[in-house]
């Protein structure tokens, strides 16, 4: 049973720029989701969405936050299933390589699975519209 999702991306940016994007609340809120977030071990973060209703919040605790590895638990609020998200960055010449791992997916069971399933079948598009708004604003400003 596949239990881990892994992703790799290479960005033409410095490792510090990518690190800021994945670890600073202000930047996370721009491309990912509204974040109450501090890259400090033990911090209890909260990812929510602004304005949209019926969007389930994601909560968790920072497990590790040393440049350039960031790891936190990922819990759908109101459920018990604990999964783990880990970001790891590596310099590669002028580029930065990003490794993302989301493990423990099979810990979701029963109702949680259904909730998540439904969320991902459309719901999250609404919940995740912050970036589009942000990009449009940026485009007009420029």
């Amino acid at each position: 049973m596949k239990d881990v999702i892994t992703k790799e991306r290479t960005f033409n940016r410095s490792i510090q720029a990518v690190w800021n994007a994945i670890s600073k609340a202000e930047e996370l809120s721009a491309w990912f989701i509204d974040a109450d977030f501090k890259a400090e071990k033990g911090y209890n973060y909260r990812f929510t969405s602004s304005g949209e209703e019926n969007c389930t919040a994601i909560v968790g605790e920072i497990l590790e936050a040393d440049p350039y590895t960031l790891s936190y638990t990922w819990i759908v609020e109101g459920t018990k299933a604990v999964t783990t998200v880990t970001w790891r960055l590596e310099s590669e010449g002028e580029n930065t390589k990003l490794y993302l791992e989301h493990s423990g997916i099979s810990n979701y069971e029963g109702e949680t699975a259904v909730t998540m399933f439904n969320n991902f079948n459309g719901g999250w598009d609404n919940c995740m519209s912050e970036l589009n708004t942000y990009l449009k604003k940026e485009a007009h400003a420029g």
């Binding site: 049973m1 999702i5 991306r9 989301h102 998540m116 399933f117 991902f120 970036l131």
Partner: protein
């Protein structure tokens, strides 16, 4: 739809059930409840309970031969679970696309 996925996740959430299901897949032949109970050092009652949950999820079907019940694995419903995992996978792809755009547009 919801019901089916719920039952599937319930069925595969338990390690013992995963092992029983796996044993049936590997055996690629029907195994009796007695056989499974002996392989897993469990009571027939315990096995029957797990088998029922797996049967509800559509992961196994049962043939009655005389007094014995034979279990066969049917992995097809697992595709639902895989589809669900793929949704999660797509979620991260989308987010990383966002990150790429974000990093490309930043003026710092």
């Amino acid at each position: 739809m919801q019901d089916r996925v719920t039952k599937l996740f319930k069925a595969i959430a338990d390690p013992t059930r995963r092992e029983i299901f796996h044993a049936l897949v590997v055996a690629s032949t029907a195994l009796s409840i007695t056989q499974i109970a002996s392989d897993f050092a469990m009571t027939r009652q315990g096995v029957t309970k797990h088998i029922k949950t797996l049967e509800d999820a559509g992961l196994i079907y049962i043939n009655n031969v005389g007094r014995e019940r034979f279990c066969n694995a049917d992995p097809k419903p697992l595709k639902e679970v895989d589809k669900w995992l793929q949704s999660y996978s797509k979620f991260w792809d989308d987010k990383l696309d966002n990150l790429e755009k974000f990093l490309g547009q930043k003026h710092t």
